[in-house]
């Protein structure tokens, strides 16, 4: 019969134990290798994704950006460093196209401060004529924005420091999985 011819003759031998062990071992090595490659790829991907998109990174970017903007337009006449992690800077409410010529003194303030590991910026107005005798702690904010979470405040390394017209920020963000040191300094350009 034709069907019979297509069937390998059964000589009763099958796989030997040795052959089976070798085959299983080869398969194990193959599967293990693939598994390691896949696991590493997955781990690298996760790590890379976190580095690119974690809260730490996004917070660091926004904190630095706001800090630069606020400090660069601040007045060099005054800057109140209340503590290592709290600072007031003052600026003019100029429009992008022209300065507000009626202003003799800065009419706005920005307060950068840390509460329970979160960096906030408060904005508000300064009453006309109050700038020279201003008590910063009496200022009330009209807007508060959260800039960064997981801020590590050190007793020895100041978060904010002032040197002449320059204000410096050195902030460590650490959420347990990712950490990043954000350092920025800005020159107060306004008189």
């Amino acid at each position: 019969m034709v069907c019979r011819k297509l069937i390998r003759p059964n000589k009763g031998k099958g796989f030997s134990l040795i052959e089976l062990i070798v085959a299983v071992a080869a398969a194990m090595v193959l599967i293990l290798g693939m598994g390691i490659i896949l696991a590493h790829s997955q781990r690298d991907f996760t790590r890379m994704f976190k580095r690119a998109h974690s809260d730490v990174v996004e917070d660091a970017y926004s904190a630095r950006r706001v800090f630069d903007r606020v400090v660069r337009k601040a007045t060099s006449r005054r800057c109140d460093l209340i503590s290592n992690s709290e600072i007031y800077v003052y600026y003019y409410s100029d429009t992008p196209d022209a300065p507000n010529r009626e202003l003799v003194d800065p009419d706005r303030f920005a307060r950068l401060h840390v509460v329970s590991g979160v960096l906030f910026v408060d904005y508000g107005e300064i009453s006309v004529g109050a700038f020279d005798t201003l008590d910063p702690t009496s200022l009330s904010a009209s807007t508060t924005l959260r800039l960064a979470r997981d801020v590590q405040v050190s007793a020895t390394v100041p978060l904010f420091s002032v040197r002449a017209r320059t204000v410096r920020m050195a902030m460590l963000l650490d959420n347990g999985e990712e950490s990043m040191l954000v350092a920025s300094s800005g020159v107060r350009h306004n008189k």
Partner: protein, 395 residues
């Protein structure tokens, strides 16, 4: 009879190929995702770097425009000036401000990012300071600093461009009612040395910028005139140049009548009890090529008691202005290289700008606020009065 269909070995479906294909596809997708994230991170980093470069270029353009404005005091512009060691470049324009001074627009570009900053600036008189020096200020004990006229609400400022420790020394019981300015970038706490009981009512702060003291040029067309052998009783009514050192002998009196501009190329000395009188409704602009020494008992009388009526300018070779005036002195001095030594037995009124300033005895120094209203052109400096940037819409 049952039929058994046996598939040939080469046509049998296995698990290996689909498994391998699945893994390859999975790794491929993972790789693509990683590349995308890497690219995204790299793009963000590159953009941030480019923004910083553009911003630095804009700042550099503004600094260059300010520098040129100080030198030329006129409008200027430049475009596509490369910022060294970067791909960034800047362009700036200095135009007259519709209200006052100049407006600077500086654009920094790096790749496809641009940043624009603006500044408004105008000339501020050096004589808006009571005392301003390049080196040291030494005020003796019990010195009083105040303003004149008495009803003025202006608070006088003293300052130095020095950053050295102890550049400003306030002896005991010295009172500064206004601000004290020290050199840019310095620590005010170390530059100002305040002795016991000395007080500063204003703020002590570092200057906004590095102040430079340009020399005020001697006007052209001052005819040379010889100094008389017997100058006593001389009345000067016309502009002139003395090319040799001049000395007022003991007891000599020289008067200035009218508005006179005078250049003394050499030293000028008032011997004991000599007098230089600026008459009523008169003024003297005195340019010094050498030192000015007024000996003990000499007198410089400004009849109208107005510092605007006696302006003393030092050229680069004027090194010492030593005044031992016996009466009150009203004067505005601008001598960038000169050490100003004041021994006045009376009070001093005006504004003193020099290399250094020393009040040798306890006395009164009044800043003459009328200098702020002086309409004539005199030494001034540019500093940024207002700064802002485009795209500042975050706050």
């Amino acid at each position: 009879m049952d039929t058994i269909t046996i598939t040939p070995k080469e046509k049998r479906s296995g698990m290996i190929m689909p498994l391998v294909a699945t893994i390859v596809v999975f790794i491929f997708l993972l790789g693509i995702a990683m590349l995308k994230i890497g690219f995204s991170s790299r793009f963000t980093a590159a953009r941030t770097t480019t923004e910083i470069a553009a911003r630095s270029a804009a700042d550099a353009g503004l600094a260059m425009a300010m520098h040129l404005l100080k030198e030329t005091r006129s409008v200027s512009s430049a475009s596509d000036v490369p910022l060294e060691n970067t791909r960034a470049a800047f362009s700036y324009t200095v135009t007259p401000d519709p209200v006052r001074g100049f407006r600077i627009r500086s654009v920094g570009t790096s790749d496809n990012i641009s940043k624009t900053v603006y500044a408004m600036t105008w000339a501020t008189s050096f004589w808006s300071y009571a005392i301003l020096v390049d080196d040291t200020i030494n005020l003796k004990s019990n010195m009083l600093l105040d303003v004149w006229p008495e009803n003025s609400t202006f608070t006088p400022t003293i300052g130095t461009t020095s950053t050295e420790t102890g550049a400003i020394t306030l002896s005991p019981n010295t009172n500064i009612p206004g601000d004290v300015v020290v050199g840019a970038g310095s620590n005010p706490d170390t530059v100002v040395s305040s002795k016991k009981s000395s007080t500063i009512n204003g703020d002590v702060y570092a200057s906004d910028n590095d102040l430079e003291f340009p020399f005020w040029p001697v006007p052209d067309g001052l005819p040379p005139i010889p100094w008389p052998e017997e100058p006593n009783g001389l009345t000067i009514t016309t502009n002139r140049t003395y090319l040799t050192p001049i000395t007022f002998g003991n007891g000599d009196t020289i008067s200035i009548v009218g508005d006179v501009t005078m250049y003394v190329a050499g030293n000028m000395r008032l011997n004991s009890s000599a007098k230089l009188i600026i008459a009523a409704n008169s003024s003297l602009e005195l340019y010094l090529g050498g030192s000015l020494i007024a000996d003990q008992g000499s007198e410089i009388t400004n009849y109208d008691e107005d510092a605007r009526n006696l302006k003393i300018y030092g050229t680069p070779t004027c090194r010492i202005i030593d005044l031992k005036n016996s009466g009150n002195l009203w004067a505005a001095i601008y001598a960038p290289n000169a050490d100003l030594w004041i021994y006045n037995s009376g009070s001093t009124y005006g504004s003193f700008i020099g290399n250094s300033f020393e009040m040798k005895q306890d006395a009164e120094f009044y800043y003459d606020t009328r200098l702020l209203e002086d309409p004539t052109e005199h030494p001034s400096f540019f500093q940024i009065e207002r700064w802002w940037e485009r795209g500042d819409d975050l706050i």
